[in-house]
């Protein structure tokens, strides 16, 4: 994906070969959740092979009256790797909504840059020959439909379309975005726990206000950085630098405890420090994503900032369900989009929303303060 922007404000073009980098970077932005981008990459690859490359439009280039439609997969990642989604499902999710709205869509968008949903919109864009916005609704991965910045800006998630692979489809219209999550979740389960949705349709003006700019090209840059850092040796450090974040900890997983409550796979992983972190312990609390990092009893980073675990050697993102005893991982924290730290943002996706009695702890670049400094 050569950067052709230069002095003009033209977009970039995503070719087949760029998809793997985007998937690898999206796995990092998935902060342990968001599903395996592998299947998303295969689907996007199939669509790009059949219909050609996808044009990425920078958010800033969007006209006010553009009609923007995000498209995403909803359901259980474990189901998606077994009942593989179909590319035509993506196109149908879009058409069902545009037919209902009576609108002509001008741009597709990505609602979640982390995990599999970074790649699903490429399928629709290739198939329908529409440009895709280089932006998304959260700048990371979150588990629920209402947890997007457009909610903060009062943009309604409905009317939304939901379609399965059998040809069933529906349009939901709900009083608020939480109800959209609730109804869509029930329908998804009836559809076999894997559905395509199109929701949060918005105008160009709204999109420029509510979306996080540049996240797909950021994912591609993370992917390329990981590939390059494999030979130079410090993939996690290189990614932390790219994200303006910091490496929290390098160590080995010594214990993983899991439990299921309220539909989420909750759990915690303990890491024993190695190298410069020898003698310290990091506790990672996760639900679908990594949400809280506690070093030697002190909380060092929390949601909504990004907490990412990378395989120390290869730099590949480690997902929460892949956490296992003995795995060598490097944990980094990176700042999320600043708007998540607004009162409205925290009310939607702060630590308390996920059940942690903690104020948000911001990841800061550079070395962490020592405990004595922090306690002073």
């Amino acid at each position: 994906m050569p950067d052709t922007r230069g002095g003009t404000r033209t977009g970039t073009r995503v070719e087949l070969d760029d998809l793997a980098d985007i998937g690898r970077g999206a796995a990092v932005l998935g902060t342990g959740g968001g599903g395996d981008p592998h299947i998303g990459g295969l689907l996007a690859g199939a669509a790009v092979r059949a219909h050609g490359p996808v044009d990425l439009t920078p958010l800033a280039d969007l006209p006010d009256d553009a009609v923007v439609l995000p498209v995403a997969m909803m359901g259980a990642p474990t189901v998606m790797v077994e009942k593989l989604p179909s590319t035509d499902q993506v196109g149908r999710a879009i058409r069902v909504l545009t037919d209902h709205l009576g609108l002509e869509v001008t741009h597709l968008a990505c609602i979640e840059a982390g995990g599999v949903n970074s790649l699903i919109p490429f399928v629709g864009a290739a198939e329908l020959g529409l440009p895709l916005l280089d932006a998304d609704g959260m700048g990371r991965a979150f588990p629920e439909l209402q947890m997007v910045l457009p909610t903060v800006y009062g943009i309604r998630g409905t009317p939304m379309s939901i379609v399965d692979e059998k040809g069933n489809s529906g349009v939901l219209d709900t009083v608020d975005n939480r109800w959209a999550e609730r109804f869509a979740r029930s329908v998804t389960i009836d559809m076999g726990c894997s559905a395509m949705i199109s929701d949060y349709w918005m105008t160009g003006a709204q999109a420029r206000q509510a979306l996080v700019p540049g996240t797909l090209s950021l994912a591609a840059r993370i992917g390329r950085t990981l590939t390059a850092a494999r030979t130079s040796g410090d993939p996690a450090g290189a990614v932390a630098d790219l994200l303006g974040g910091t490496v929290l900890f390098t160590g080995k997983i010594t214990d993983v405890a899991r439990r299921t409550t309220t539909g989420f796979a909750r759990g915690e992983a303990r890491l024993d420090g190695t190298g410069p972190d020898a003698g310290s312990e990091l506790l990672l609390e996760f639900q679908n994503e990594f949400l809280v990092a506690v070093r030697d009893g002190r909380t060092v980073s929390t949601v909504p900032d990004l907490i990412c675990a990378l395989d120390t050697q290869t730099g590949e993102a480690v997902r929460t369900e892949g956490m296992r005893y003995g795995h060598r991982v490097t944990v980094l924290a990176a700042p999320c989009d600043e708007r998540w730290h607004s009162p409205a943002g925290l009310a939607l996706a702060g630590p308390r929303v996920f059940g942690y009695e903690s104020d948000p702890v911001r990841a800061t670049p550079g070395p962490l303060p020592t405990p004595t400094e922090a306690n002073r």
Binding site: A47, K83, P85, S86, T87, E165, R185, T254, G326
Partner: protein
């Protein structure tokens, strides 16, 4: 008595074990191109070392890398069709979509999609359409397909459609081999399907090899059942080996690790197998190799069947030693099988790890006088480098801060010191050079459950007990002595977003092979 044979790429090793597991005789022969020749030579070699009555042999266990090599080299693969049941789902990513083109060609791969498949909770995606299957069968026949892999969506949850489709195809194509995905892989459609297609492509070759093994064992006058060792260290009877050749893919490293456990008497340990080019490090838990939990790529194909978790580093007896002083490097480049021509101690001109071992007095191979002038500092530094790289690999494979004993096997294990930093003492059991064959001979029989269970509140223990009992029953059905069956592993992963406490549970049980009584027990020494 039982006989264990390991057919490696270069050597075929064989051991004769007493009923109590003690080694009566061991031999090493060259591997022959047709497998059978090496086995005949190994059996007569054993007979030569220690005369035994063939009628006293109660089982012959064979480990072979032949099947995986056939895939890697893309030779003798049968024209294969992949039939997937799941329409209208999954159509965009047809079978073999992620394969290297070379291998699709090698198996003359044909992909078919048909209706069928289940949801995660057992509901059907669509009903099976037998006419559709018959049309596909006719097309397969027209294209000379000789083996078919059938994969239905969520078949690990519900096997019904794969079984019914197999009946329909068998009626239409009576001479075609059929492989079913639920018998081969886990949840993860593409990976399970890939493994099944690979299995299907190897069925004809497997049949030929199994027949060859039977003939050569019978030719030595042995009338005992033959088993092949599998990836997880359990045994396959020959009929299963015919049907599931993929199950033998990783038996090499598995046999060597399990052999190390038996020889050393240590059942939870790290095993370092030092060969000519690489050292393979694996971890044994209660005598079985820890499994890789992620997808495993074989010849460039993503699969998800059971494989041991092995870390390979580029250090072996043939590793090149270069540089001076603190800059000394060992490996990863190696002279490989040319060691006997190129190493200094064999009259060559390349400084190898073997020369370092001889110069330090750890090994007595070749002509020691040819390395007498090596700089002692160079020798010391090279040995330290080897020790620290291996110690680091062992440390990476450890699963806790608990000390983990290290057992060294393989011809190159003389390169290792008696003590590894951070790991402790290095155990070097007797007969370490034939650990592979011993690992094959002591293999057990396994049974396994890997399914999504629905766990209602308060019913967790009950569900786990059901899964345990089912795994144990499967082990007994596979030939294990019920008195020896124990549950080895229980793995429980709750699935996010699914209702009804959906949890994926994997249970593995193993037991000793129930041996038929020998017709005569005596060993003629």
């Amino acid at each position: 008595m039982r006989i264990g044979i390991d057919v490696g790429g270069t050597n075929t090793d064989a051991v004769l074990l007493d009923d109590d597991g003690s080694v009566l005789a061991a031999v090493k022969c060259s591997t022959s191109a047709d497998v059978s020749g090496g086995i005949v030579a190994a059996l007569s070699g054993l007979q030569h070392r220690r005369a035994f009555d063939p009628a006293g042999v109660r089982a012959v266990m064979i480990g072979t890398t032949h099947f995986v090599n056939a895939l890697v080299e893309a030779r003798r693969l049968a024209p294969t069709a992949a039939l997937r049941l799941g329409l209208p789902a999954t159509a965009s990513l047809p079978p073999m979509v992620d394969w290297p083109e070379r291998l699709v060609q090698a198996v003359s791969g044909r992909a078919y999609l048909a209706h069928g498949g289940h949801e995660f909770d057992g509901r059907t995606i669509s009903e099976l359409d037998e006419d559709e299957l018959r049309r596909h069968a006719a097309d397969m026949a027209a294209h000379g397909v000789r083996s078919v892999a059938i994969t239905s969506v969520f078949s690990p949850v519900n096997t019904e459609f794969e079984l019914r489709a197999a009946q329909v195809l068998a009626a239409e194509l009576p001479h075609v081999a059929i492989s079913l995905s639920h018998e081969i892989g886990r949840i993860g459609l593409l990976e399970r399907e890939n493994a099944t297609v690979v299995n299907a492509a190897l069925r004809e070759l497997a049949g030929g090899i199994v027949d060859g093994l039977r003939t050569s064992v019978a030719g030595a006058g042995i009338d005992a059942p033959i088993y092949l060792s599998s990836n997880d260290g359990t045994l396959l009877d020959v009929e299963h080996a015919r049907r599931y050749p993929v199950s033998t893919f990783a038996s090499g490293p598995t046999n060597s690790m399990r052999g190390a456990a038996v020889l050393s008497g240590v059942h939870t340990c790290a095993v370092v197998d030092v060969g000519g080019t690489t050292s393979d490090v694996g971890v044994l838990q209660r005598g079985f190799p820890r499994e890789a939990t992620t997808e495993v790529s074989v010849a460039g194909i993503r699969t998800n069947f059971r494989m041991p978790d092995v870390l390979s580093i580029g250090i072996g007896g043939g590793s090149l030693v270069r540089g001076q002083g603190a800059e000394v490097r060992v490996g990863p480049e190696s002279v490989g099988f040319r060691l006997v021509d190129e190493a200094l101690v064999f009259g060559g001109s390349t400084l190898t790890a073997t020369d370092i071992a001889v110069a330090s007095g750890r090994a007595d191979i070749g002509d020691a006088s040819r390395v007498a002038d090596l700089d002692p500092a160079l020798v010391r530094t090279a040995l330290e480098r080897i020790a620290s790289d291996v110690a680091d690999a062992v440390d990476r494979m450890r699963t806790s801060a608990q000390p983990l004993p290290v057992v060294a096997v393989g011809g190159g294990s003389v390169l290792l010191p008696d003590h590894l930093t951070g790991a402790g003492e290095v155990l070097r059991p007797e007969n370490f050079a034939v650990a592979n064959a011993i690992g094959a001979a002591i293999a057990q029989v396994g049974g396994e459950v890997d399914r999504v269970f629905s766990i209602e509140p308060g019913k967790r223990t009950e569900v786990l007990d059901t899964a345990r009992a089912e795994a144990a029953e499967r082990a007994v059905a596979a030939g294990a002595d019920p008195r020896t069956v124990e549950v080895l592993e229980v793995d429980e992963v709750p699935l996010p977003y699914l209702p009804g406490g959906a949890t994926r549970i994997r249970v593995k049980a193993v037991g000793d092979l129930q041996l038929a009584p020998a017709r005569r027990e005596a060993v003629h020494a």
